[in-house]
Amino acid sequence: MRNFWKLYRRNRSAVAGIIILGMVVLMAATAHLIYPDDPFRLAGASMQPPGEGGFLLGSDSLGRDVAAGIAHGAKTSLLIGLLATIVAVGFGTIMGGLAGYYGGRIDDLLMRTTEMFQTIPSFVFAILLVAIMKPSIESIVIAIAVVSWPAVARLVRGEFLSLKNREFVQACHTLGMGDAQIMLREILPNCLSPIIVIGSLMVATAILIESGLAFLGLGDPNIMSWGFQIGAGRTLLRSAWWVCTFPGVAILVTVLAINLVGEGLNDALNPRLRERQ
């Protein structure tokens, strides 16, 4: 672990990324303490510019506090990003692992399926899924996971394929270990680093997809999110620029920080790449 941190620390922008991400997480965790009221609640006069009427970042046409929305929206973005990634990585790892280990029919089926997923416009597909399932946290998480898992499956399949014929795996076969045990205890730990890296980058993509869906009006109607704030504020562009601007900055900063962390993890976990640089 200490060794890992030493490697990670070498990438200075990755350190900056984790600090920023830490602050976003802190904001999400303390949102209900700083702004205990419902972010949908009318908090005062409407259309207040930033810094006036007691609003740090202004208020929108219904007198909702933009800063409170951003703080509560952080929870939504992180939660959906994380959940969707866990589902996608879990499912993709199982499918990719089975396909890579057993080959044959499962492998063919998986490869054709991922090829199809690479062809269909994934964002449009996500829109369709959410529209059909009705917008809610679950349907958004499912939609993002459905369009994201094929990338994980392809990666894990490749790793399993290259590891399954290595000596240490053959040794396990001679020792009489079962397939499940070999896959879970021997091969999987050896391909965790690329899975962690792709997973961390996927959180960023998931947050971007979620904000896009919410912007189009496909967010969970009961939950404040950054995309919803921007979508609701777009009609006020002429008179109240701040309603759209600040939630967008929040998305940008969060996604950027996660991408930096992902690249830092990649550098620290992938020694081959490190040597090349």
Binding site: T119, I120, V124, I127, A131, L216, L237, L260
Partner: protein
């Protein structure tokens, strides 16, 4: 076998490979249609206000909705293969007519976006790779990193605030000034004027992608043996970079341009709805609001088929560009 028949065989082979994908997409579409709560009859009955169960059963029979699922699937396949994408009850028009109507603006937006993103991406990647680890490289890398993390819809809105509302350089939305009744070149100029902001917005994300790809590709090629040979021949660094390396580095960027078309369609839904650009994306946004699933699925199907087509074309172009590609 002569080279041209070999090439023809390759094209045919690629065409055949696309067939199962097209079928899979149509089948996915069919099941999505079924997953949706209620069928077309429910929608019609809802529109009419009241409908007796007998009337609804009769309607179901008329549309073939009382048949078993495999039969319905077969009918759906037949319909799609004869370009019948169903009926939009909101617009009271066949989906195909609606979609074709909106196809041209989207094509215009996508082509100009690809040209801008690939063109500028190649230049930026080249600049970064030739000035490796200088301020120029750092600046371009930071730019790519930031644009990669920016939500497209937000950039679009910010562009509207700055360039349309405050500076007044460009119109805020739409494709042309209909009230002005421009004709000929005036109209072309008007559309081009409206096209600027949506194109820049949509190309930003891909610009970042192509910049990074071009930079990596240039660096990879710079380490190849033929570069050492060229250097040994006494060629100038400038000539090596711009004549020898650049050519080879372009190939992966061309392939990527094809792969990204699917993502580009997703991006155009967002950008078109921000700028009220009257294309397929805007139509999808309207369909979403009107809960017009038939239309939404038709757009999805058409855009998926578009991606299959573009990938095919890119593969064929690629085999022309790089003779090393297996065509046999």
């Amino acid at each position: 076998m002569s080279h041209s028949t070999k090439r023809l065989r390759y094209v045919l082979k690629r065409l055949l490979q696309a067939v199962p994908i097209v079928f899979a997409i149509i089948i996915v579409n069919f099941f999505l249609l079924h997953m949706a709560e209620g069928d077309a009859v429910d929608v019609l009955a809802g529109e009419a206000g009241s409908a007796t169960p007998e009337y609804m059963a009769e309607l179901r029979k008329k549309f073939g909705l009382d048949q078993p699922l495999p039969v319905q699937l077969a009918v759906y396949l037949k319909n799609v293969l004869t370009f019948d994408l169903g009926y939009s009850f909101r617009h009271e028009m066949p989906v195909l007519d609606l979609v074709l109507d909106r196809f041209f603006p989207t094509l215009l937006l996508m082509v100009s976006t690809i040209v801008l993103a690939v063109g500028v991406g190649i230049i930026l990647g080249l600049l970064a790779a030739t000035g490796l680890n200088t301020w120029r490289d750092t600046l371009i890398s930071v730019f790519a990193l930031v644009t990669y993390a920016t939500p497209l819809f937000w950039v679009g809105l910010m562009f509207i605030v700055v360039f349309a509302l405050n500076l007044g350089w460009f119109p805020t939305s739409g494709m042309e000034n209909i009230a002005a009744f421009y004709e000929g070149w005036d109209r072309v100029w008007d559309i081009a004027h409206h096209l600027v902001l949506p194109t820049i917005t949509l190309s930003l994300f891909y610009l970042a992608l192509y910049t990074r790809l071009m930079r990596a590709s240039m660096l990879e090629q710079a380490g190849m043996d033929y570069v050492t040979t060229a250097r040994a021949k006494g060629l100038t660094e400038r000539r090596i970079m711009f004549v020898h390396v650049l050519r080879n580095a372009l190939l992966p960027v061309v392939t990527m341009a094809g792969v990204q078309v699917g993502a580009l369609i997703g991006g155009s839904v967002i950008v078109e709805s921000v700028f009220a650009w009257p294309g397929l994306g805007m139509l999808a946004f309207e369909a979403l609001f009107a809960r017009d699933l038939n239309l939404l699925l038709g757009i999805f199907l058409l855009s998926a088929l578009l991606v299959v087509g573009v990938n095919l074309v890119v593969d064929i172009i690629y085999s022309w560009l790089d003779p090393r590609i297996e065509v046999g």
